[in-house]
Structure formats: structure tokens, C-alpha cells
């Protein structure tokens, strides 16, 4: 389970962006979180990805409460969550080739030996050719770079995936392709998913259930869930 309970978070403790939000995702479940720009859904996604320490509330990951965040999170918890952000250009080190980008989490966790096999396995799955793997971010399109960022999120075989507006910059075909890659990984691994976005049609097509921002934040929990389990 990924359990977010009564989370309050933001960048100014006097004026939090997220107030009292609660959301629970069962293993293998995919949940879409729908909300307009600026509502705080990306901040909540960062909390769920252990990248932002909430001001109040608890996060419980597979039964263990989360006590450290970012680099302070224990490796076992940190590597259990894979993240894909909206803007691939801002989340890719411009000095690395796509191959190095995908392999970075393996190197950072001392699993260098697995790099060759794992990259060889993932690159065709996300649709990257050997030639593209040798290029650096400025030499590929947004869609190609986002494919590499998705491969990077999957490289450690996370039990949880957080996709924050993963496809907002992408065309329809690349969107459908990347969602298919996520779903293929989830079928094979049983990973759970939190997909954050503003495109209701996309999230309802993609996820088991879609909840609205109003439905999970504040004191009106559960009554405003935007769509039934589908």
C-alpha cells in the first residue's frame, strides 16, 4: 500500500499548497489524480515520491512509515518509487547521453554490473534505438527524451510509479505509446501507479479509478470522488 494520510505540504508553512489531503493506493492499483493547474497536485505527487517533506501528515510505504525524504530516505524506500515528471528537459542532465541517463539510478545504487543488460532490455521497450541512446538531450525531441526518462524511472524495477503530467508536452501517438509502456511494466511487475494530470479523458482511459483534487483534499474527503471505479 501507498498511504498518504492528512498531508499538509507546501513551500511556505503559513500558506501550504496542499491541505489535509489523503489518498491510498493498493498494490497493483492505478489511480488518476485530476486537478487544474496550480491546485497543488504536483506537490502531493512529490510527497508521494518521497521528494518533498510534508509539513504535517504521514506517508506509509508498504507498511513502513516514511521518516526521511529526498537523500535522507532509506535506499530501500527511495528505490521502491519511480518518478516521471512533466518536462523531460528539466529532469535530464544535459551532459549525459540517454544511455547514461537511463543507467544513472543503477550507478547511484552501486549496481553498475546490471547496466548493460538492463539498458538493453529497456531501450527497445520504450522505443529507443541504439543510435538514439548515444545522443545527448539537446539532440533528441521532447518525446524521445521523455521515453528515456520513463526508462530511467523503470530501471530499478520500482513497486510504485508516480507520473506527474508525464504526457502533457507530448503528441497523441507518443502519449499512447508511453502509457502502453507503463501498463506493460505494471502487468509484468504488479506495480502501483499514481498518475497526476489535468486531462480527464486520458486519466479515465488509463487508470482503474480517477479522483478529483476536491475529493482528496480538505475535509470533504470521499464524497466528491469524480468517477467510480472503472
Amino acid at each position: 500500500m501507498l498511504e498518504l494520510t492528512r498531508i499538509t505540504a507546501g513551500y511556505d508553512p503559513r500558506d501550504p499548497v496542499v491541505r489535509d489531503a489523503s489518498l491510498t493506493i493498493a498494490p497493483g492499483e492505478s489511480v488518476g489524480l485530476l486537478g487544474p493547474s496550480g491546485c497543488g497536485k504536483s506537490t502531493l505527487a512529490k510527497v508521494a515520491a518521497l521528494l518533498h517533506r510534508p509539513d504535517a501528515g504521514t506517508v506509509v510505504l508498504d507498511g513502513r512509515p516514511v521518516r526521511g525524504w529526498r537523500h535522507g530516505a532509506p535506499r530501500a524506500q527511495r528505490t521502491a518509487v519511480g518518478v516521471v515528471f512533466q518536462q523531460p528537459r528539466l529532469s535530464a542532465d544535459p551532459r549525459l547521453s540517454l544511455r547514461e541517463l537511463i543507467a544513472q539510478p543503477l550507478r547511484a545504487t552501486g549496481r553498475r554490473a546490471e547496466v548493460t543488460d538492463r539498458v538493453a532490455e529497456l531501450a527497445p521497450a520504450v522505443g529507443l534505438t541504439a543510435e538514439l541512446l548515444n545522443r545527448r538531450p539537446h539532440e533528441v525531441s521532447d518525446g524521445q527524451l521523455q521515453r528515456a526518462c520513463l526508462a530511467r524511472a523503470l530501471v530499478l524495477r520500482p513497486r510504485w510509479l508516480i507520473c506527474d503530467e508525464m504526457t502533457a508536452m507530448l503528441d497523441a501517438s507518443t502519449t499512447a505509446a508511453l502509457v502502453a509502456v507503463v501498463e506493460a511494466y505494471r502487468r509484468e511487475s504488479g506495480a502501483g501507479l499514481l498518475a497526476v494530470g489535468h486531462d480527464r479523458v486520458l486519466l479515465e482511459r488509463w487508470c482503474d479509478r480517477t479522483v478529483g483534487w476536491q475529493g482528496i483534499s480538505g475535509r470533504v474527503a470521499t464524497q466528491e470522488s469524480m468517477s467510480p471505479t472503472g
Binding site: 487544474p36 496550480g38 502533457a168 503528441d171 497523441a172 501517438s173 499512447a176 482511459r205
Partner: protein, 337 residues
């Protein structure tokens, strides 16, 4: 409107309504790269755009859409080579005009640009009011004390709230930044508006509001070329749709026929629509070819289920379609050479 005495030399101030606002013929852009390589970013684009009409240019990222827009504004980098012509209603060819002409008479005055990321397009250290006033001074010659009221009027045209005029760009939400950029683009009363991905990163409500506002300005008599990968936005705003693939326009169709019945005729355009979550949600297999290494024949053949021997020759564009076997209404296949 007074009758034009000589149809060969129409008065530039009162253009013939039949003359397109923009007429693009055989427009190609190639980038010269290191080692003598060439990137064919745009190949042989042809289209007309009339006053009051909106043409949406759609396609995957990296297909050459934005390069086409840069070519029209004369904003290509130094290693770009252009061919063909892109003629405005008054006869100015955008591809051959010098920088002085473009800077003094075209950008902002004949073509208004609604940029891709307004937050980055606006000057970060000046308020929206200061930027509107500066643009008004430059383009319309209005001076103080009338400037303040004119800036408020200019903001109102793009539905930018007057209460936010004294804010800096970073204090604006995505939607308000977009309106500020649109207000700037409208000041010069340019007959042609060019919107390059104006809705990227906006949520659905804001996308709809933004395109509805652009549509309102089109209905007011401007021509609008909107470049987007958002098919829902294109469907909402466009009169006609041009589909670009690997630097070429492969289909040019009426929007209602393209999005409704009988649907697109080019297999790529069909695949693009089928990828939408409200349709089949199935990606087109494979990825677009590299613009630096385009195949000799049809660039889509490698991803196309209909590909056959004919596809080894490049399909000519007949004004509507560039495909050897485009789908026609009611028939499975039509001979189209």
C-alpha cells in the same frame, strides 16, 4: 471598399479580399550541419491562408512545425537555407525580405506572434503594463498621457484583467501569462496571427479558453496559423487542418471532415487520431524518421500497414494529400498517384 482599378497592382492598404493573407509555395528549410550533413526540416510546404480563417498545423514533436513558423518570421539560425516563397497579402516575400524590413514592417505589424511559452517570452524584470506600453509606443506611436488607457484597452482585448497589469510575469498563472502574450501580439493589428503551441502545459479549461479567444480574434477578420500537437485544441478552433510528417505536409483538409466523417485520408493522420484516449488509444508503431536521414520514398512507409512497392517513390502532394493509397470516403482504397 473602393474598386481596384488595376488588378495587377492592388493597393496595399485595401487588399483584395480574394488575395490570401499568406500564400506559401514550395517552402523548404534545410539546416547545414557539421561534416556536410543536411537536415531537411521542412520540405515543399504549400498552403494559403485567408482573412477570418484558421489553419491548424498538427504533427508529432520534431516534425518541423516550429521551424516552419520560424521561417515565416525570419528567425531561422544562420545555418538554415530556405527555398520557395511565403508571400503576405501586400506582396512581401518573408523568405527574401531583409532583416530591416522584417524588424520594422513585419514582426508585430503584419504578423503577430503568440509564443509557445509565454512565461519565457515576456521580459521577466518588467511588469505587464510596462511591456504593453512599450509595445504600444513602438507600434502605434501613442504617447503619454494616452498610453495608460491604451495599455488597459490592449489588455482588455485579450481578456487580461486590469487588476493584474502591475504584476511581473512570474507572478502570473499560466493562463494569465498566455493572455498577456496574446495582448502583446494583438497590439500591432497584424492581419496574420501566428500561434506556436499556445496551449502547451495549460490545463483543459485554459486550453479551451485560450483557443476560444484566438478564435474570437480570427472571427474579427484576422488570419490565424496555429501550430499545435493538441488535436482537441485543433478541432475546437480550426477551419482547416494541415498534417505535417517528417517535414512535409501530408494532408490538408477541412477540419469538420478531418475530425468527423469521413475522417483523415492519410494513414499517418488516421493513426494520430486513433491514438487519442477518447478513440482507440493505440500508438502508431515506431518513431518518425530522422530529418537528417529521410528515406527516398514515402517517409511514413516504415510505420504504415498499407505500405507496398509504390511507396518507394515519394508521393506527390496534390493540394489535399500526399499518399499513394489514401483512404477515400466510402471506398477502402483509391488510386491516387
Amino acid at each position: 471598399m473602393k474598386p481596384t482599378p488595376d488588378p495587377q497592382t492592388p493597393d496595399p492598404q485595401t487588399p483584395d479580399p480574394q488575395t490570401p493573407v499568406l500564400s506559401v509555395r514550395g517552402l523548404s528549410v534545410r539546416f547545414r550541419m557539421r561534416g556536410g550533413r543536411h537536415i531537411a526540416a521542412v520540405s515543399d510546404a504549400c498552403f494559403d491562408l485567408a482573412a477570418g480563417e484558421c489553419l491548424a498545423l498538427v504533427g508529432e514533436s520534431g516534425c518541423g512545425k516550429s521551424v516552419l513558423a520560424s521561417a515565416l518570421l525570419g528567425l531561422l539560425p544562420g545555418n538554415a537555407q530556405t527555398e520557395g516563397s511565403a508571400v503576405l497579402g501586400d506582396g512581401t516575400d518573408l523568405l527574401t525580405a531583409d532583416e530591416r524590413t522584417l524588424a520594422r514592417t513585419v514582426r508585430g505589424r503584419r504578423i503577430g506572434l503568440v509564443p509557445q511559452s509565454p512565461a519565457a517570452h515576456l521580459t521577466p524584470v518588467r511588469t505587464v503594463r510596462a511591456q504593453l506600453e512599450e509595445t504600444l509606443r513602438e507600434l502605434t506611436g501613442i504617447r503619454k498621457p494616452a498610453l495608460r488607457a491604451a495599455a488597459e484597452q490592449a489588455a482588455a482585448r485579450a481578456a487580461f484583467p486590469a487588476g493584474h497589469l502591475d504584476r511581473y510575469p512570474h507572478e502570473l498563472s499560466g493562463g494569465l501569462a498566455q493572455r498577456a502574450a496574446t495582448a502583446l501580439a494583438l497590439i500591432g493589428d497584424a492581419p496574420l496571427l501566428l500561434a506556436d503551441e499556445p496551449t502547451t502545459g495549460l490545463d483543459r479549461d485554459l486550453v479551451e479558453r485560450t483557443v476560444d479567444e484566438l478564435r474570437r480574434h480570427t472571427d474579427g477578420g484576422r488570419a490565424l496559423l496555429i501550430i499545435t500537437h493538441d488535436l482537441a485544441a485543433a478541432e475546437r478552433i480550426a477551419d482547416r487542418v494541415a498534417v505535417m510528417y517528417a517535414g512535409r505536409i501530408v494532408e490538408l483538409a477541412e477540419a469538420d471532415r478531418f475530425f468527423g466523417e469521413p475522417g483523415p485520408r492519410h494513414p499517418y493522420a488516421r493513426g494520430l487520431l486513433d491514438a487519442l484516449p477518447e478513440r482507440a488509444f493505440a500508438p502508431i508503431p515506431g518513431m518518425p524518421p530522422e530529418l537528417g536521414a529521410l528515406p527516398d520514398g514515402c517517409a511514413f512507409a516504415a510505420r504504415c500497414s498499407r505500405a507496398d512497392d509504390r511507396c518507394s517513390a515519394p508521393p506527390p502532394f496534390d493540394g489535399h494529400l500526399a499518399c499513394h493509397h489514401g483512404v477515400r470516403a466510402g471506398t477502402e482504397e483509391s488510386a491516387h498517384a
